[in-house]
């Protein structure tokens, strides 16, 4: 039983500790504790893994040597967005989400984990004010899951079995919706107007009937275009007693009208923009919001924290609202499931929103808008480049059409990479009629010089 290695993460890996504990149990080998596992199920050999790197110093160097093969957006100027955004992360966000108390905690109860409850209640509350809705749940995995769950809610609320999904959302999201609902729900994709890039009201009208549970769209959509017809879409849905489900990036809501104000019944989206680094997609987290209507709340699969008074007057305690609807209490009779989701990002978003505050959330919206249009004008004025769509009401992203150049988008992006620029996301083969197009993303972090460099580089490449 003697062991050559004492592991720093395993206090009882010393021989004396093992001996003491085995003596207490009256055993001579730890193997005796595995008596229940039949020999036929045992591995009975060491796993075939590389030799360990036992010193912390060498471990760090080894992993960093691998990571150094990446190029980060600190080393280039990136114009990639399409679901994961390079927004500024205030230092205070990293400070709080690195706190060991939050980082290492799991799901303690209302007393000993009071801090988590309050921080996440504040996340719900500030999101609710941004969204102008009364109920926001704890975060889910990402915006894809939020959309899929919101649509599942709509199906159960209306007791109908068909959903209409706009084609101008991310192809990933469409794929997710098909996986989550496609085996038992009829999904109809609604065309977008080839000229404006917006959801086609004609296509919507043709497909709307009393079998439809919900219509789903993003605003702004995957092309960065602000859907002007939100109100018409919602009223069309309501005319057939269907629900209007809208996905939105909350960072836009200082300046853009919240979907509830044009009739959305369920609003969802991703909060990565609110203080999460991109982390190669690891900073995503989804949200779901509804009005304060039990019919809707009881269909939310996620935890919802709520204020509960304590015996001390004026003190806030918290608990979980209508917990019986969840899988934690009712297994398969619950709504979807609850488990580890994305709470640390919910806490971070709370810090972000409290830090930006009422004025900051408006200013950041204006700044993004101003930068986006600066880039949009300059790029679409270049010879042979044009905007893909006529609607120039855009926020943060826009689609550039390269089909009048003699290069493919990937050739252009390779050229840009040589100039230390990540070009826009290539739509070729991703969305119908969008070959030779790319989505460019501009945020508050792009300076005029950054954008000028992109414009000059594009000009050089395509001329």
């Amino acid at each position: 039983m003697s062991n050559k290695i004492v592991y720093p993460y395993i206090p009882n890996s010393t021989n004396s500790a093992k001996q003491k504990m085995m003596d207490t149990l009256g055993i001579t080998s730890i193997d005796e504790l595995y008596v229940a596992i039949p020999d036929s199920l045992r591995l009975n050999r060491l796993l075939n893994l590389p030799d360990p790197i036992l010193s912390e110093f060498e471990l760090e160097r080894h992993v960093n040597d691998l990571l150094n093969k990446n190029i980060s957006t600190n080393e280039v100027i990136s114009f990639l967005g399409s679901g994961c955004y390079n927004h500024y992360v205030p230092a205070i966000c990293d400070e709080i989400n690195s706190r060991n108390e939050f980082l290492t905690a799991y799901s303690g109860k209302t007393y000993e984990d009071h801090g988590r409850y309050q921080a996440l209640f504040e996340f719900q509350s500030m999101m609710a004010d941004l969204l102008n809705m009364d109920v926001v749940a704890l975060p889910t995995y990402d915006g894809l899951q939020a959309a899929a769950s919101a649509l599942r809610m709509a199906i159960d609320i209306t007791r109908r079995n068909k959903i209409l999904v706009s084609k101008n959302i991310s192809p990933e999201k469409i794929s997710k919706i098909y996986d989550f609902l496609g085996s038992h729900v009829q999904i109809k994709l609604i065309d977008f107007d080839q000229d404006t890039g917006e959801l086609s009201l004609d296509s919507l009208s043709i497909n709307l009937n009393r079998e439809v549970a919900a219509i789903f769209f993003d605003n702004p959509n995957f092309f960065g275009i602000i859907e002007r017809n939100g109100e018409e879409i919602a009223s069309l849905a309501h005319k057939f007693d269907a629900l209007c489900v809208v996905s939105v990036d909350p960072i836009s809501l200082g300046i853009l009208k919240p979907p509830a104000d044009y009739g959305a019944d369920i609003v969802c989206g991703d909060i990565q923009s609110l203080g999460m680094h991109m982390q190669c997609g690891g900073g995503q987290a989804g949200f779901i919001a509804v009005h304060d209507d039990p019919k809707f709340i009881m269909e939310i699969p996620l935890r919802i924290y709520g204020i509960v008074p304590t015996i001390e007057k004026g003190e806030y305690g918290f608990g979980e609202i209508a917990i019986d609807r969840t899988s934690l209490m009712s297994r398969e009779k619950g709504k979807e499931w609850v488990g580890t989701m994305a709470n640390l990002w919910g806490i971070t978003a709370a810090v972000y929103l409290a830090t930006l505050g009422k004025k900051g959330i408006i200013e950041i919206g204006k700044l993004i808008l101003s930068n986006t249009h600066y880039a949009y004008k300059a790029i679409t004025n270049l010879p042979n480049l044009k905007a893909k769509f006529s609607n120039n009401y855009i926020f943060r992203e826009f689609v550039v059409d390269f089909s009048n150049t003699s290069y493919s988008v990937s050739e252009i992006n390779n050229q840009l990479l040589k100039k230390k620029i990540f070009g826009g996301y290539n739509l070729t083969g991703q969305i119908e009629n969008c070959d030779n197009c790319a989505v460019y993303c501009i945020t508050e972090i792009h300076s005029e010089q950054d954008i000028d460099l992109l414009v000059n580089s594009l000009e050089e490449i395509v001329q």
Partner: protein, 516 residues
């Protein structure tokens, strides 16, 4: 609160800041951060259609950065992170040590500040780490192909169910096979995710042995069986030695066997899904492989499948031709996307570093010590009068034990929730059980490999003291917690009465505060 209670409670006290709700802080025009000025002063009306402009600003608070930081630091102090205590009361969750080196590694801009849609040439490091981690997890599970796309364990279970459904669909059997079988001590998500995916759920209950009988599984299977989802050992910590027979019975009717190995902590390098005949399994990287629980996510799930099921994995997977790595989308039978991009990539880096810090012998050591710790703790806990470990008394357990406090509660009238509240005064988490409570007055402990025998001795001593208090000074327990950030909750109707519930500050103000 009487003085007597105060003198009888432990010296420990958690921070109690009585923090206001964020909206009660700050005042008009305070700023938490300043931003650059836009390059132009254009009216936003030029860029936003008039019907889409927000006319009423969102009612966010206005607070100086000083106070925002202070507020959330204080809330963090009111949160009992696993770093602060031997966190073995949060069982079934495998709360183990989260090494700070893994945090420092993931703070590298080459993790933090990379975009998932970057040219693969610029992501070779991260792709290589994922590829290497795949090889590790293949060996650890014995399975043939891996995806790390799910962002949690439950999403991983769901993904395995979706793959099973796609497989039956491909064989023209999707409609016919509409049932899955699980056990009551398997995680709720083993029932909930297949239900979400459209399956009827059949749940098996344990015999006196702690696991269901062969007859029960034989009676449950039929040509309608799509699959079998099970944890083993399950929440009782009892290993079902007949598991291979269960698998065989399900396979005989054409079902798929899915092993929930969210927590494989007691079995690393000891026993694998492969040898037991399973078709799929999953691991939670935030349990077995030490990535932080992050107050409830983000986690990460590894799904592991045999060759026959590999074509159905979500896209993309990571491919390697001996020279370069890339995202492989060329999978016509794939179920498609489960999560945005490729899931929780920083957690893959952490798990890679954690496995590399152990190697094969180290992983065996993790499992051995987790099991040694668990049985050592059980030895101590079972000395407490009135606390028992139901099923198979006198036998060893794997990595956790579901205890019953029934002997204490029946004799004293103190409820298990009151006992849990009292545990807070000792700086301990207390997890009962998933619902329903098949074991009466349950409490589940999982000491993992991360805690010393001194930690375990102390923990058992605290539990013994709580039991003694329940017998001799029950009021202390009934009124607990005394040393938590807040006092005891009242009016629990605030959680279930729609007229009262307050999921947000604006709802609370509307329902409970005089309008301003």
């Amino acid at each position: 609160m009487s003085e007597i209670i105060a003198t009888n409670t432990p010296k420990y006290h958690q921070a109690r800041w009585n923090e206001p709700i964020i909206y009660e802080l700050g005042s008009d025009d305070e700023r938490g951060i300043l931003l650059p000025k836009p390059n132009n002063n254009d009216d936003i009306a030029a860029y936003i259609p008039s019907n889409m402009i927000r006319n009423i600003p969102p009612k966010l608070p206005e607070i100086s950065q000083v106070e925002v930081l202070r507020h959330y630091l204080r809330l963090s102090q009111e949160n009992l992170g696993a770093g602060l205590v031997p966190d073995l009361g949060m069982a079934t969750s495998t709360v183990k040590y989260n090494p700070p080196i893994n945090e420092r590694i993931t703070k590298n801009p080459k993790v933090m500040k990379i975009h998932p849609l970057q040219n693969e040439k610029t992501l070779q490091g991260i792709l290589e780490i994922i590829y290497r981690l795949e090889q590790f997890v293949k060996e650890i599970s014995g399975m043939d192909a891996i995806s790390f796309q799910p962002r949690s364990g439950s999403q991983a279970i769901y993904t395995n169910v979706s793959i099973m459904r796609a497989y039956h669909n491909k064989n023209g059997e999707k409609e016919k096979r509409d049932e899955i079988i699980t056990t009551i001590f398997s995680h709720p998500s083993d029932a909930a995710t297949p239900h979400t995916a459209g399956y009827k759920v059949i749940t098996l209950y344990p015999e006196e042995s702690g696991y269901p009988s062969i007859e029960a599984i034989k009676a449950a299977v039929s040509e309608r069986t799509a699959g079998f989802l099970v944890t083993n050992p399950d929440d009782t910590g009892i290993f079902n030695p007949q598991i291979a027979k269960f698998v065989e019975i399900v396979h005989e009717v054409g079902g798929i066997c899915i092993y929930d190995q969210a927590n494989a902590n007691g079995l690393l390098g000891i026993a694998r899904a492969r040898e037991a005949g399973f078709d799929m399994c999953h691991f939670n990287l935030h349990k077995t492989f030490s990535t932080p629980h992050a107050s409830g996510g983000p986690g990460a799930g590894a799904i592991c499948v045999i060759d026959r099921l590999a074509p159905f994995l979500p896209v993309p997977t990571v491919a390697y031709d001996g020279q370069k790595y890339w995202w492989d989308y060329d999978k016509p039978d794939s179920i498609g996307k489960i999560a945005a991009f490729y899931g929780s990539i920083p957690n893959l880096v952490r798990a890679y570093a954690w496995i590399m810090a152990h190697g094969a012998e180290g992983l065996r050591e993790v499992a051995s010590i987790a099991v040694l710790n668990n049985n050592y703790l059980m030895e101590k806990i079972l000395k407490i009068p009135g606390v028992e470990a139901p099923y198979k008394p006198g036998t060893r357990r794997i990595e956790q034990v579901r205890y019953s406090w029934k002997g204490v509660t029946e004799k004293t009238g103190v409820s298990i929730s009151e006992i849990a509240n009292r545990a807070v005064d000792y700086g301990m988490h207390f997890f009962f059980s998933h619902h329903p409570f098949v074991v009466p007055d349950p409490a589940t402990l999982e000491p993992t490999e991360s805690y010393s025998y001194r930690d375990l001795d102390n923990f058992a001593e605290y539990w013994a003291r709580i039991a003694e208090e329940a017998y001799n000074k029950p009021e202390i327990v009934r009124q607990a917690p005394h040393h938590a950030p807040i006092h005891k909750l009242t009016e629990l109707s605030f959680l279930d009465d729609p007229q009262k519930w307050s999921p947000t500050w604006r709802a609370y103000k509307r329902k409970h505060l005089v309008s301003d």
